[in-house]
């Protein structure tokens, strides 16, 4: 190929670079790229942006991750780490360099895990395992609380401290289990099953924070199904606030952390119970005092009524009547007696007037026959021995 004799006017570097940039950035295949490689030349300046190079055996790719995306990273980057990066190809014109602007970065293999997570989630969701209607209420005041967690983790200590503080009345049954690695899923399943046989009121399935691989056991289909099959309501508190596992979806309640799970399991606390007992006590006292006052008033009312109808009152009435009668009877009697006395007096006076001895005092004498004893009132009767009676005595008289 021959060079033109009279070339057109040359492009400026800027113009050419702009042209290249446009070609690269317009290419749909370069706008959404997943690329895997090993990190090298990692730099994190104060700006908060991250700069590094992704390498494999034969090639290198300059990468930049802006501050906002870098802040969402959940693991520590270091040189040599195999990662999967997602982003778009862009051209940095001042250096004439193309680079990958990374918006997602994850450890290598995580992409496949995430795909598996999504597949399993969709499948179990379609089966209805995550349905809201399946969620059972968490008892407000559990007597027995089951824990499925590591025997040695901070999660256990946090939960026991929380339970001890909030509801020391409870009994806790710990079913220790591996919570990471290949042995975790079967151990978690077994712990859930044996714990269910103890019939606790609620089960806390918990694990402290960790990498996504560390938490992976809680995305295992066997574990998810064991949670779904649990007779006892399950609260899931795995990892941190931002971690979501399939156990979170299938559990009756999701807690952001193990401590929060213990709090959600003890909705009624010791303080609430003290308050409740005090309230019941006061209701009891109020009620009883009220009842007593009521009864007292009732008795008083009855006593008043009883007094009104009491025989005592009748007795008093009758006795008064009797007094009245006897008073009346007495005065009637006196009246009669006085009447009689007056009559007797009259009669006596009259009798007195008739007393013959009164006539004798005036010089009369009464002559009686000694023989017959009869009064001589005619001459013819005057014969034999006679007796003359005068005012002060008697003497014998003879007819001459």
């Amino acid at each position: 190929m021959q060079t033109a004799l009279f070339p057109s006017a040359p492009l400026t570097v800027s113009q050419l670079t702009f042209h290249i940039r446009k070609r690269l950035e317009d290419d749909p295949a370069l706008r959404e790229v997943w690329v895997q490689g090993e990190i090298s030349n990692l730099a994190h300046p104060n700006s908060g942006h991250l700069y590094f190079t992704l390498k494999d055996k034969n090639a290198a790719l300059r990468c930049v991750m802006w501050k906002l995306d870098a802040a969402r990273l959940r693991f520590n980057l270091q040189d040599g780490l195999a990662v999967e990066a997602h982003g778009k190809i862009a051209v940095y014109e001042p250096q004439g360099q193309y680079q990958l602007v990374v918006n997602l970065l994850q450890p290598k293999g995580e992409g496949a895990l995430y795909q598996e997570f999504l597949r399993l989630k969709a499948m179990l969701e379609a089966e209805g395992l995550f349905d809201v209607e399946r969620k059972r209420p968490i008892p407000e005041l559990p007597q027995t609380i089951g824990l499925v967690t590591s025997q040695t983790g901070a999660a256990l200590r946090d939960m026991l401290n929380t339970l001890r503080r909030r509801l020391p009345l409870a009994r806790v049954i710990l079913a220790p289990s591996a919570v990471q690695g290949a042995e975790a899923p079967p151990a978690l399943v077994k712990a859930l099953q044996t714990l269910n046989q103890q019939n606790p009121d609620v089960i806390l399935l918990a694990r402290g924070g960790g990498s996504i691989e560390d938490l992976w056991g809680f995305n295992d289909e066997r574990v998810v199904r064991a949670v779904a099959a649990s007779q006892t309501p399950v609260i899931c508190g795995v990892g941190h606030e931002t971690d979501f596992t399939l156990c979170d979806f299938v559990a009756d309640l999701r807690a952001p952390t193990p401590t929060a799970a213990a709090e959600l399991a003890t909705q009624i606390t010791l303080d609430d119970l003290h308050t409740q007992v005090a309230y019941l006590s006061s209701r009891l006292a109020t009620q009883t005092l009220g009842l007593l006052a009521e009864q007292k008033a009732f008795v008083a009312a009855l006593a008043a009524r009883l007094k009104y109808i009491s025989p005592e009152r009748r007795i008093q009435t009758e006795s008064q009547k009797l007094d009245e009668l006897s008073r009346r009877a007495g005065s009637a009697l006196i009246h009669r007696i006085q009447l009689q006395a007056a009559r007797v007096h009259g009669i006596t006076k009259r009798l007195h007037a008739l007393n013959p001895t009164a006539v004798l005092a005036r010089g009369y004498a009464i002559i009686t026959s000694q023989e017959s004893g009869r009064v001589i009132s005619k001459v013819a009767q005057a014969k034999g021995a006679m007796q003359a009676r005068v005012s002060d005595g008697e003497f014998e008289v003879k007819r001459i």
Partner: protein, 81 residues
């Protein structure tokens, strides 16, 4: 009230939940106000004892932690750091 009589147990044998449940039932029964006075006073006395039992159990409560291994329960000793 025959039911309450037959359920009546020595108060110091009752668990917190049992004592509280009985106390709640008893207060409600009292509030329904259909007991003869003598019975009401007996209920009050028992209620006071139940409340005292509840309070004492709350004061004395100590989280009981057991460990379940192969269907066997054993007391669990926390590791101290």
């Amino acid at each position: 009230m025959a039911k309450a009589k037959s359920n009546e147990r020595a108060i110091d044998e009752l668990s917190y939940e049992e004592a509280l449940t009985e106390l709640e039932g008893l207060v409600t029964a009292l509030e329904e106000n259909q007991n003869p006075l003598e019975e009401a006073l007996k209920l009050f006395e028992r209620g006071q004892a139940l409340a005292a039992r509840c309070g004492a159990l709350l004061e004395a409560a100590q989280l009981k932690v057991q460990k379940l291994t192969d269907e066997t329960l054993t007391p669990f000793e926390e590791e101290t750091e």
